[in-house]
Symmetry: C2
Subunit: 199 residues, 2 copies
DNA sequence: AATGAAAGAAACCCAAC
DNA sequence: GTTGGGTTTCTTTCATT
């Protein structure tokens, strides 16, 4: 097998080698493992059913907090910060990845900088159960960057990033064909996403 | 200076050392402070006013897409995938970081795995302008993992991760002291967060 | 801007403690 | 968990184009 540089357990190539049976890919981060329930940075990444809780000690939490802050931290430096040898740090992290505690490492992009300055939270209320059509739309419209199914009056909470209000309008119109929408444009974040933290 | 392993431009130590003077924010917002506007994975990380757009070519987008998928990808492997030498790839990425296109690299954690299986979207409606009290609460309650200010009936859209419904209730009660809340518990994500993509 | 070479550092594996 | 050795790969710098 080809040597995979800095090959964390979540690396697609490595996962393929180590996790023989992939569940059918269902949207979202292509590289993420199947059947995870995550509520990752910022909002949530739910996928499928919740899984069992993992017992973590203070060192595990230190690893989690460092990597939530900077996912590109080298393992040697991470080890230094948590007062653990590189080997032990690597093994801890490997276990956290294998247990599904760490679900991925992702770069964050400023949408405004790349031409998507209009961000919105769109709530969608369904009359019946045309969920398939929504799923199709989610897959196609890349302006939709997240969709959560929730309790309450609204069935779904959707996030979208658009290049203009006119662009957002087109996205909302497509959603409005499926159910009734309530759209809120985002001014800013008094509290931008921060990762989870220990007890 | 101490060698900094894999020291990307966003590394705190390196940022201080290498980016002496930020160019004054030019463009549409006049004298307003040059802040970050990100709508990162899952929800968005807005902070302050939007900044200027950056012109990106197909190679830049390839870098962005790869690192959104796996932030721990080595630069050599990234270069291989986009058909560029490691040096050129590094320089491209350095520019993207310096321009504020890439705002960070973050590990995603499965909240259910670490004892926070209850995720909720809480909308908060303010009667007046007791924003300071909200900001204090946001800073203190680590269950609140994001807060967006939005247009519409509700002033804020808040995300929270709690260990139980009783735990969530306590968080909601604290918010309800400031304004009227509407809470939706998250079932799952038909479309978990996926990063932005090019045109 | 991209390339290629070279030095130092990091990732990895493994054995021993 | 730690240490240390040995190997491969990665990061960074710099000269070159």
């Amino acid at each position: 097998m080809r040597y995979c540089p800095r090959p964390h357990a979540l690396d697609p190539a490595r996962r393929a080698a180590k996790v023989p049976r992939q569940a059918p890919a269902a949207g979202g981060w292509g590289s993420l493992p199947p059947a995870k329930l995550h509520f990752g940075p910022f909002t949530g990444i739910f996928r499928g059913m919740p899984t069992d809780q993992v017992t973590l000690d203070a060192t595990d939490w230190a690893i989690i907090e460092e990597l939530q802050r900077d996912a590109r931290l080298p393992l040697t430096e991470l080890g230094r910060r948590i007062n653990l040898s590189a080997s032990a740090t690597t093994e801890r992290l490997r276990r956290l990845e294998a247990a599904g505690v760490v679900t991925g490492y992702h770069a964050f992009i400023d949408p405004a900088k790349v031409g998507l300055p209009v961000l919105a939270v769109i709530r969608l209320k369904f009359p019946g159960s045309r969920h398939e059509r929504l799923h199709d739309l989610l897959a196609q419209r890349r302006e939709i960057i997240e969709c959560l199914r929730v309790t309450g009056d609204d069935c779904y909470v959707i996030r979208a990033a658009a290049s203009s209000m006119a662009h957002l309008e087109r996205v909302v119109d497509e959603l409005a064909a499926l159910g009734s929408t309530t759209t809120s444009v985002v001014y800013g974040a008094p509290m931008p996403y921060r990762g989870v933290c220990g007890p």
